[in-house]
Symmetry: C2
Subunit: 373 residues, 2 copies
């Protein structure tokens, strides 16, 4: 006879409606012994200014150019961009229909968050974080208005175990003349959701009063009894470990009160609230294992701003949200590996998203380095 | 005026017809300096028998059970399986349509390739590799015949930087009561290809004489002028760096002479040829950076064997192929990171698949440890 299902004990899979993939959750498995690789712990004794850091004010970069002496934030074009500005060459004739190549143009910007070499987002003031949001918005508008650009991707790689070569706080913005795969997937799924029949709910709605997948999801998580996946919530934003989380402490951060297509659409109050929740989420992350918590962070929103100020079009179906994908699993030195069955069959995690949210809720919002002595 | 497109210089994207995703290739970018994390080099002075290794003959495992004294290969059920055998509990009632969970049952087997703690596949004899193929086939048939099992995934995680906790040569087989995401995607794309109109070619055909994506692709790569993505070819199999390779030295290994749905369908000659090419590919891999080359390897084929011996059904649309996904990028200690824009927008690589194939072709087929004095 079949037992009663218990999601905190029984292996099961959950559906991710953003990418149309499943993830296997194996909560019973956390008992197994760890014999694998541990990462070198990250240094925390960083200088305020490092003469060897090409992101510190006034220093020279590998390409030979100089980083100016800046006061708050500073943006420059990556000296080793993965995509190059127009003119882009013409698409070649493919020798076979399975061997096609499409030229990609665009730009890669580096966004320095602050002159201090040693201060990451969780240790910056709200005012400084608002300056970063402003820097994101400016770059989004600038790059998104360039001819031929079809998507602007804002992201941050933090931590050596995420492949980030420099601890100086900075993010990146890559713009593309093509729509990237994961963006196209999310858009397809958002459109499909808005066109489907779903039970009526009192969640906010997307363009044309049609249902929005992320309005509906955020509203549900905020209001569900126990709110067991919510980590932090403020007046306009909620940070939660999504039902379909892949990374051990993955967080989805999004506005839950109304449908907002991009950071350009934020009111001053919503922007302030955004800075507040970014500060609180990143402090909890650092406090989880008392380390500078590594992650990849990315902003998903309208691919480019509307071409007419206040103009609306089909891209407004996008619901602004931020993905945090952190690799750490059980300490500052043990990370999750994406390997084996996950590369060959299906994503898998051990402890549940609810357990992850629980641990993040238990973390303080005073940064551990500021709490000492 | 637009320049002439040169795939070894200009950024471009390529289409992966197996997973319907794109990958950006940035070949101009290999000039940028490396400032990131390096991995600890792997130890090569392993004992032939390690008393602390739970996979060595006669030793006790973490769960308390004993690994028998075996002579060639040895298979046992993982003491910490990610999925559990039936009875599986009933699917619960979802509190909301975005919060559904589906129980997953199945089994996780560990396949030890050889009693010697220090010998990985590239250092085993062809006879020993044929025994591993036999072990894969036996487990595929056994697990694939169990009630409710819908997919059997054979894979190997090799190397600490791939999250593998034990250097003793072994692989795994996970069986599922559900069809995993990546398997379902490949099947969808294989079906779509076989139903589409494509220019007639003299490649082998799939079931019903319809075009097979992988028959067509393998045939094309073997016959194209210069065969610049082919690494090794023997009588029945070809190993190539696919046009859409994501990992720096990714290899797709597949039979190119006829459509073969699974390892169960191999003739003795094809099996021998399979062992030969596995040996040659893994030797080249180890020789590339003179180290035990880490990878995830997975066998894609019919999800389960036919239920009637010699029976054919729609699953025969699968074309047996092996994916090798190795993380190393430019030395034994510098790996590729899947992070940032790749997690948020689209996969990206620097040097081209053709350049990777070129370097692998230049490697010897005599293992560097056997070549020394
Ligand atoms: Zn998103
Ligand atoms: Zn495959």
């Amino acid at each position: 006879m079949a037992q009663l299902f218990d999601p905190s004990t029984h292996p099961h899979r959950r559906y991710n409606p953003l990418n149309d993939q499943y993830i296997i959750v194996s909560p019973h498995r956390t008992k197994r012994p760890w014999l694998g690789q541990v990462e070198p712990p990250q240094s925390i004794d960083l200088p305020q200014h490092d003469p060897a850091c090409y992101l510190c004010p006034g220093n020279t970069r590998a390409g030979g150019k100089q980083t100016e002496v800046y006061e708050h934030t500073y943006t420059f074009e990556n000296d080793f961009s993965a995509v190059l500005p127009p003119p882009i060459p013409q698409a070649p004739v493919a020798p076979h229909h399975l061997l096609t190549a499409e030229p990609v143009g665009g730009g890669c910007d580096v966004l320095i968050f602050h002159p201090r070499h040693d201060l990451t987002m969780p240790r910056l003031s709200l005012q400084d974080i608002e300056r970063i949001i402003d820097q994101w918005t400016t770059t989004y508008v600038k790059r998104g208005s360039e001819e031929g650009i079809r998507h602007v991707q804002i992201f941050e790689n933090k931590g050596a175990i995420m492949g980030c070569s420099n601890p100086h706080p900075h993010g990146q913005v890559w713009s593309f003349t093509t729509v990237p795969t994961l963006i196209a997937q999310e858009k397809t799924n958002l459109i499909q959701y808005s066109d489907s029949e779903h039970p009526l709910s009192d969640a906010p709605k997307g363009p044309g009063g049609k249902p929005c997948l992320l309005c509906e999801y955020a509203h549900t998580e905020v209001n569900i009894e126990g709110a067991e996946r919510v980590v932090v919530k403020n007046d306009h934003w909620v940070a939660l470990v999504p039902w379909w989380a892949y990374w051990p402490y993955e967080i989805l951060l999004l506005p839950y009160r109304r449908h907002i297509p991009s950071i350009l659409h934020l009111t001053p109050e919503e922007t302030h609230s955004f800075a507040d929740i970014l500060s609180r989420v990143t402090k909890r992350y650092d406090n989880l294992f008392s380390c500078s918590f590594a992650y990849s962070m990315g902003i998903h929103q309208r691919p480019v701003p509307p071409s007419v100020p206040d103009g609306a079009d089909q891209d407004d179906i996008a619901h602004l949200h931020i993905h945090f994908s952190p690799p750490l699993l059980r300490s500052a030195t043990v990370k999750k590996f994406m390997a084996g069955v996950e590369l060959m069959a299906e994503a898998q995690r051990d402890f549940t998203p609810e357990q992850a949210a629980d641990r993040l809720r238990a973390c303080s919002e005073i940064h551990y380095l500021d709490a000492r002595g």
